[in-house]
Amino acid sequence: MNYEPARQISRRALRLWRISGLIQFGITLIISIGLLVAILIWDWPSFILWIAAGVLILELVGMVWLFPSLKWRSWRYEVTEQDIELQQGIFWITKTLVPMVRVQHVDTEQGPLLRKFRLSTISISTAATVHKIPALDEREAEELRRSISSLARVAEDDV
């Protein structure tokens, strides 16, 4: 089993993650401005500002630039009639194997941001575990959900 699953998640996920990274960055920025005001008014020690600046830069580089593309590149999945394979992780690489007979149900979910990008997250539940594939193309996720649930039904087995 030393090979990579074939399919990648939607390219649009990259932009989605960058935007949510930017939103986080924005929140930290607002907090930093608050800190700056506090330093000016109440004479708080100024090293706090240096820490805030460090966090901001790390966030901009990590969450907005580096992390999304690494994450996107590391995510792979493959669904066959018999099983589902997932591979994820940048430093910790986890490969997951779920036989189709073990699948109990499949859900798709979509937050406001994902809807904007016509993406959707699919979660596959077995009796013991839940496995998620983030940010698939809406239609692809829908199709996958339908095919998994019909394949899972064919392969009926007791728990």
Partner: protein
């Protein structure tokens, strides 16, 4: 069985006692408000106390009056409720097992408490509970459920034949010896549990007592000397230990494992008799635990990993199939109980290059902690080095205890964090499998394997760390249902 039935009237008493237990602390508080032993009677608290008592008593009786159960149209139908009338209909095919237990109220009247377990009742106790019914009725109920499951078309008029009930009494496949129960009690961690219980009790009592009155006494006490306090602490410890041993003896006396039809039945207990029923086809795997105290003595415990049933919640002890047994005997005993699980297998071990990783994994946190602790609490803090050395030794042990085996459709994984655990499982019971590695491990071709089993409402994970990557690939291939891809 088809007209609504009541529970045995003793249920009213049981309800009353249970209500009393729930209201114990408010009542004790009221008692002290009432002037305690001082003899002066204040009318308002007294009235409130008697009102509460009366309410609990009447509540217990009404609850018994309102509670009815019957079998109808393939459902167990229960109607109950003190103020709000509730109806709970449980389809028979969803009932997984009936668990019987007997308390001190049940014994004299040949009664049992019946807990109805369904697949969905994992989180909040049993789906339904019949507080007290006659043993015979309980057996009839069980028989009817079994019959219905075999052939749902059996009409409602059919009576259960006597002969069938008589037949189902089977001989025990395993019994715990007294010597084992005593040894288990002595080596158990139960002392800690009892101790914390005592602590909770005291803190509760302290809250309820009028502190001002006894404050002076406490001060006097302290003046008598720390020595007595220390002595008392040790005494409390010793008493707690003895209590825990006695409790264990009571709880595990008459421990028996039987197989009846397709169910595994575990009964135990001396004053309170507990019976756990586990349908064999719900068994997901076995787990052998060896803790650091019992392992040198050569003892282990075997636990069943089972899907579903309220028996899972909180008290995993109820699924202890063999709570305390010589490791060498497990195989022979299991051969009689669940013969399709092979206990004695040859374990393959992780490669030599994994050893430093095992050690670092178990002990790095301790070694980092040693530096500040030694500096700030010099010289006593240096003792923390001993703790870190202990963790290092544990890492060493973890390496020697890790292992895996693949025999036909059975996978066995052995690992240790503190407890040494061996999971024995069948391919078709494994819910999903994970191969995990870091980029660094990829370079030297090491990898972890983890598999998930269904356990109650959730899951349990068996794992083995730092195996050779091709070993893990081999295990994943074995698990892979699609044979086309294996050859790639």
């Amino acid at each position: 069985m088809f007209e609504p039935k009541r529970l045995h009237p003793i249920s009213a008493v049981i309800n009353f006692v249970k209500g009393l237990k729930d209201a114990l602390f408010p009542l004790v508080a009221l008692f002290f408000l009432n002037g305690g032993f001082s003899g002066e009677i204040e009318w308002i608290p007294l009235t409130v106390t008697s009102a509460i008592l009366l309410f609990i008593l009447v509540g217990g009786i009404v609850r018994w009056l309102r509670f009815t159960y019957r079998m109808e149209e393939g459902e167990l139908r229960i109607e109950y409720g003190l103020f709000i009338r509730k109806k709970r209909y449980i389809p028979i095919e969803r009932i997984q097992s009936l668990d019987f237990s007997e308390g001190i109220f049940h014994r004299p009247f040949q009664l049992v408490k019946v807990s109805v377990e369904t697949a969905g009742s994992g989180n909040d106790g049993a789906e339904a509970e019949l507080t007290a019914i006659h043993k015979q009725e309980a057996e009839e109920l069980e028989e009817m459920i079994a019959q219905y499951k075999q052939d749902p078309s059996i009409s409602e008029g059919d009576e259960v034949t006597e002969q069938e009930t008589a037949e189902s009494v089977s001989t025990p496949l395993y019994e715990m010896r007294m010597k084992e129960i005593i040894l288990m009690a002595i080596t158990s961690g139960g002392a800690g549990v009892v101790l914390s219980g005592v602590g909770v009790f005291f803190s509760q009592v302290m809250d309820a007592l009028p502190l001002g009155a006894i404050y002076q006494e406490i001060v006097d006490w302290i003046q008598i000397g720390v020595l007595i306090v220390a002595f008392t602490a040790i005494l409390v410890l010793a008493i707690a230990y003895v209590i825990s041993i006695v409790l264990t003896l009571f709880r595990y006396a008459n421990f028996r494992v039987m197989i009846q039809d397709d169910d595994l039945i575990i009964t135990r207990g001396w004053l309170e008799k507990k019976q756990t029923t586990i349908p064999i086809n719900r068994i997901q795997g076995l787990r052998i635990d060896e803790n650091i105290i019992r392992q040198p003595l050569g003892y282990a415990s075997v636990t069943i990993i089972s899907a579903g049933g309220a028996i899972m919640q909180g008290d995993e002890n109820q699924l202890r199939l063999l709570p305390f047994i010589k490791k060498a005997e497990i195989s022979a005993v299991m051969q009689r109980i669940l013969e399709d699980y092979t206990i004695d297998v040859e374990f393959s071990r992780p490669p030599r290059r994994a050893l430093p990783r095992y050690i670092v994994r178990q002990s790095w946190l301790f070694w980092i902690a040693v530096i500040p602790v030694s500096i700030y609490f010099f010289p006593l803090g240096l003792l923390s080095i001993l703790v870190a050395l202990g963790a290092t030794a544990l890492g060493w042990l973890a390496y020697y205890d890790a292992g895996w085996n693949l025999t036909g459709k059975q996978l066995t994984l052995r690992s240790r964090s503190i407890l040494k655990q061996t999971f024995i499982m069948k391919k078709h019971r494994i819910q999903s499998a994970y191969k995990k590695q870091t980029i660094l491990q990829k370079r030297i071709e090491l990898s972890h394997i983890q598999v998930a089993l269904k356990s109650g409402a959730g899951g349990q994970f068996a794992e083995c760390n730092y195996l050779r990557e091709d070993t893990v690939d081999q295990l994943m291939d074995w698990y892979q249902p699609d044979p086309k891809k294996v050859t790639e």
